[in-house]
C-alpha cells in the first residue's frame, strides 16, 4: 500500500516539478558556465581586444543567440529558483552579493535584449544601454564568482 501511495506521490506532476524546482536552486553549474561564457564571449567582442574579424563574426551571433535563448532560459530558471536560498540565507554576504547579482542580471540581460532586438544605432540612449551592458557584465562575472566561490565551477581547488 505504501508503495502504491509512494508511487502516487512520486508520479504527481506538480510534485515532480516542485521537487525539480527546489533541486534546481542547487544546480548552478550550467547557469554559471553560461554566465561566464557570455562574459568571455562578450569581452572578446570588445574593440580593445581586436580579435580577428574571422573569429568575431562567428562569436557575435553565438553570443547573441545563446544570450536570448539558452542563457535566458537556463540562468533565468536557475536564478528564479535560487533566489529563495538567497533571501533566506543566514549569511549576510550571500544575501548582499545575491541581491546585487540579481540587479546586475536584470540590467545586463535587459540591456542585452535591447541590443539584440533594437541595437546600438549610435544615438545617446542606445549608447547608454550598450555601456550598461558592458559595465554591468564586468561587475556581474566577478561577483558571481565570489558569491559562488566555494561551489564555483572555477574553483579548481575543490
Amino acid at each position: 500500500m505504501i508503495n502504491v501511495d509512494n508511487s502516487t506521490v512520486i508520479n504527481s506532476p506538480i510534485l515532480i516539478i516542485s521537487t525539480w524546482w527546489k533541486q534546481l536552486a542547487y544546480r548552478h553549474k550550467s547557469a554559471e558556465f553560461l554566465l561566464y561564457f557570455m562574459f568571455v564571449s562578450g569581452v572578446l567582442l570588445w574593440d580593445k581586444i581586436a580579435l580577428s574579424w574571422q573569429l568575431s563574426r562567428w562569436l557575435l551571433p553565438l553570443h547573441m543567440i545563446i544570450g536570448v535563448t539558452l542563457f535566458s532560459i537556463i540562468v533565468g530558471a536557475f536564478w528564479s529558483s535560487h533566489r529563495k536560498l538567497i533571501t533566506k540565507s543566514k549569511k549576510a554576504f550571500l544575501r548582499q552579493t545575491g541581491t546585487l547579482i540579481e540587479w546586475l542580471l536584470v540590467v545586463c540581460t535587459l540591456s542585452g535584449f535591447y541590443l539584440f532586438f533594437y541595437g546600438n544605432t549610435g544615438n545617446s540612449i542606445s549608447q547608454l544601454i550598450q555601456d550598461l551592458h558592458f559595465y554591468s557584465s564586468w561587475l556581474l562575472a566577478p561577483i558571481v564568482f565570489r558569491h559562488a566561490l566555494r561551489w564555483s565551477i572555477l574553483n579548481f581547488r575543490k
Binding site: R57, P61, M64, F116
Partner: protein, 980 residues
Amino acid sequence: MLKRLKWPLLLVAISLLQLLSVSASASEKSASLLFNSDKSKIFSANFDAGSISIINRDNGNTISEQTIGRDIRRIAYAEKQQLLLASDFQNNKAILLDAKTLSVKKAINVPARPFGVIFDNKNQQFYLTSFKENKLLTVSLTGEITHTINTEQTPRGLALTDDGRLLVSHSLSGQVSIYDVNAEQPALKSVIQLIDTPSNKTKSVPQGKPRLLDNIAISPDGTKAWLPHVLWSFGHDFQFQSSVFPTVSIIDLTPDNEHEITEQRKQLFKQINIIESGNKVRIVSNPHDVLFSEDGKKVLISLAGSEDLMVFDLSREASANKKAKKRKGKKRHRRKKFQGGAKVTQIYRNVPGDNPKGLLIDGQELFVQNAMSLTLAHFNTGAAGPFAKLKLTQGNFADLVNHDPLPAQVRLGKTLFNQANSEKNKDHPMAGDFWMSCNSCHFDGFNFTNKQLMKDATKDKFSNAITGHVDTYKMIAGDPVAAYIDIIQKTQGGMGADPATSETLTAIDMLNPPVAVAKMMGALNSYVRTQENLPYLSTWLKLDDDKKYAHPKEWLSSAQCKDCHSTIYDQWADSNHGMNMDHPYYRYQENLAAELEGEEFRVLCRGCHTPQMVINNDNSALSEFGDMWEKNAASLNAAYQHGTPVNERGTGCVFCHRITEAEDAGGNTDLTVNIKDRTSYIFEDSNNQFLQWLAKKQINAAPKAHKASYSKPELYQSSLYCATCHNEFTTGPGAKINDNFGEWLASPFNSPDDPSQHKTCIDCHMTQDVTNFDNKVSGQSTDDGPIKSNMRSHHFAGGNYYFTGMRNPEHKKLSIDILKTALTLSVEKQGNTFTANVTNANSGHDMPGGARRQVWLEVIATDASGREVFSSGVMNNGYIPKDARRFIKIGVDKDDKPVGLRFWRYVKLSQDTRIKSGQTRQESYQLPSNIQYPLTVKTRVLYQVFAKGLTEKVRTAFPKEKIPEPEVIELVNVKKEYFE
C-alpha cells in the same frame, strides 16, 4: 739612397691611402640582388614571381626559394642579425625574413607601392620608400615602423653613404633627396632637382625631363653618385627616336654642397662612341641598375629595354679632369665643352635572358639578373684597364625560380611590354633600332604613373590635346591586336615600321598580321588585362581580387541598406548616381560608341555608369530593368524583396563605399573596388528572410565593424575620389575629355591653407544647403542614429535637374538651386556698346562643368515704345541660335571636324569659352544707334541640360520612351533701364 727612395715610397704611401679610403667608403644601395656575408651565396628578389631565392654563387644552383608575396622588388640585408627585409610592390607590404631559412618573421603593412629598401648598419634599422604615397619609412629589426616621413613625389631608389647621408631618387619628378641619417630619424638636408635637358629643334637630339629614376650607385671614394634614368621629351606626338632618351646623371656628393654636375650628364647617345656597322650610333634603352667596379674605374649599367650591358671607363674621366684643370691653369681658351670625360667603352649587346635589371659584382665576376626570364647570367669584367672587355662566361648561370607563377601567355606579354631589343622577333620586333619599350613610358604598367605621363605630354590643347598615341585604331578595345600593332609601329618604330630597316623588313599589316604576330599581340593583351593593369581594358576600374570578375551575389543590394539608412537611401535612389544611369541619352551614346569602335568599347562608359555590370562580366544590352522615370528605385526594391541579385545601374552603395583606392591615373574610373574583404556578418548575404533579419540584428548590436568596412572618410573628403569618374581621357591618345579635377585644383576653392575658403567636391555637391556651402546642416545618416553636425547629403546635387526632376521635385529644386548659385551677372553700357560681365563666382570648376550642358547669354533690348531693338541668344523653336554667346567647349577630330558625340575621337579644341572658377567673362554687344530712349535691356544667363538636337536624336532612337523636352533654366538675370 734615401733621396732615391723618396718618390717610390711616397707613391706606395699614396696607393695605400687610396686603398684605405676605398675600403672605408663602402656604401649601400637598394638592390634586387645581394651577396650574403661571406659572398658564397646570392640573394635574389624575384620580382613578379613573388619569391626570394638563395643561389650558390659558385655553381648557380638554387639552395632555397621561398614565395613570400606577389611582386618582390628590392631586398636589404642585415648581416649581423641574418635578416632580410623585402618590399612587396603589389601587395603593399614589407616582409621581414630570416636570411638563412627565408622563413617569414613578419609581414608589415606599409603605404602603397613599397619599393627601395636598404639597411643602415649604424642605426641598425631599415629604410623603405613608398613610391605611390611619397613616404620614407624607418623599420626596426623587429619589423616595427618607427618613423614615417613625407617626401617629394615618387621616392624609389635608395643609397647610403658611409658618412650617414641617405640618397633617395624620385622617379617621376627627377629629384634626389638627401637625408641626414646620423640620428635615428632621417632629417632632410637638401633636394636636388635634376635639370631638364634643353629642347633642341632636332627632335632626335637628347632632350627632355629626367624621369624614371631608380637605382643610385655611389662611387667607391664617396664623391659622386650615378643615376641612370631616361629623359621624357613629350612636347610632340609620341614617336620613337624622339620621345625617350637614356641618360645618366651625376651628383657631386661634396658634403653640404651636393649638386648635379650638369656638364657631366651622360646624354646618351653623345657619350656613346660605339659605332655600329653603317656608321650608326648604337642605340640603347631603359637604363636600370648601375654599379662601380671595385677599383672604381669602371661603371656598369644594365639596359633593361635594349637588353645590353654598358661599360663606362672612368680612367679617361680622371685624365680629362686633369687636362681641364691644366688648361684652366694655363689660361688656354676652351676648345670644346667638357662633357665629363667618362665615355662608354663597351656595349655588350644581347645579354642572355629577358629584361636584364639587377647587377652584382665581386672582383671580376659580374652577375646579371633578368627580371622577365627570371635567370641569372654570369660575366667576367676583365682585368683593370680601359681596354679590358666584358665577356660572357655563362648565359644561363642560374634559374632564379623553380616555377613561374605567371601563366605563360602573361609572361610572354609582360616580356614584350618591357622589350626594346630589336634583335628579338627579328621579323617583327617590338621596337625599331632598340629605342624604347612600352615600359619606357607606361612605367610599371598601367597605374598612377599615367598621370605624370599625361602631365609631361600636355601641350597647347588648341593645337594638340593628345598626350599619348596618335589616332588609335578602334580605341584599342575594339580590336586590340590591330591597335597594338598600330601603336608599336607609330610609337616604337617596331613591327617593321622603322624606316631604316625598310629594305630588309616589311611593315606588318595591322589588319592582317602573321599568326606569330597575332600571338604576340594576344599575349601582350593578356598582360595589359592583368589585375595590376587594365583588367577590363577600356576602363581603369579594378577589382581587388585574384579573379577578374565577381558574381552578382557577392554584392549587397543597395535596397538592403535602406533598412537602416532610409534617409540616405531615398536621397540616393532618385539622384543622378542612383539606379537610373542607363537612361536613353546614355544608351544612345553607348550604342554609338559600340557601333563606331566595337562592342568592347562600351566598357569605357560602363566603368562609371554601370560598374557592377563590368565587374560582373555582364555584357547584355541596356534594354531591361529600370527606367529614368522610376521613383525610389522601385525595381531594385522589388528584386531585393524577391531575393534576386541584380547588376545595379548607377553607382550603388556597396560600390562607392567599398572603393579602397583612387589610383590618380587621370580618371576613366581609375579606382579599385574591393568586395571580398568587406566585413560580412554571418547570414548577411543570405536570401532567407529570417537569417537576413538575424544578420541585421548583428549589425545593429555591434555596428563598428560594419561602419569601418563601408567608410573611408579621408578618401571621400578628397576631390580625387570624385575625379575617378568626373575626369575622363581618351583611351590611347590620352586627350583630356573632362578635367573637373584639374579645374578644381586651379580654382580658388582649392585652398588647403585656408580652411574657410577650401572646399572639396563633397563640400558643395553633398551638402544639404546648396545655396550656402558654409552652412553645415545636421542630420541622421542612420535611422535613430547619432545626429551628425554636417550630414553628407546623397542627393549629389549638380547640373542635371532633368533626370532627377522626372523622379523627385526635391531633387530638381536642389539642382536648380545649386546652378543658380554658380554665376553672377552685371551689365554696363558705354555709348552703343553693351557689356555683360558673367562671373563664375561659386563653382569650383569651369562653368558649365558637364559635357552636354548648354549655357548661353540672352540679351533683349526694347526701346521707349516697347519695341524690340536688339536681341541675342533668343531660342528659336527650342534651338539656340548659332550666333549666341555660348560658354562651351568644342573638340575637333583629326580632320578638324567637331567630334560632337564622338568625343573620344577629339584631338584638339577649336573653342573653349567656358568660364573658369573665379573668372569673369565680358561679352560685348553693339546696340543700334537710333534708339528711342529710355532703353530697357534684359540680360539672362540661360542653362539647358541637353540641346534640342540631341534630344531629337535620342527620341528617334528610342521612340517608345517618353522623353520630355529639357526645360531651360534661368540662372541669373539683370534688367536695366538706360536713358541715353
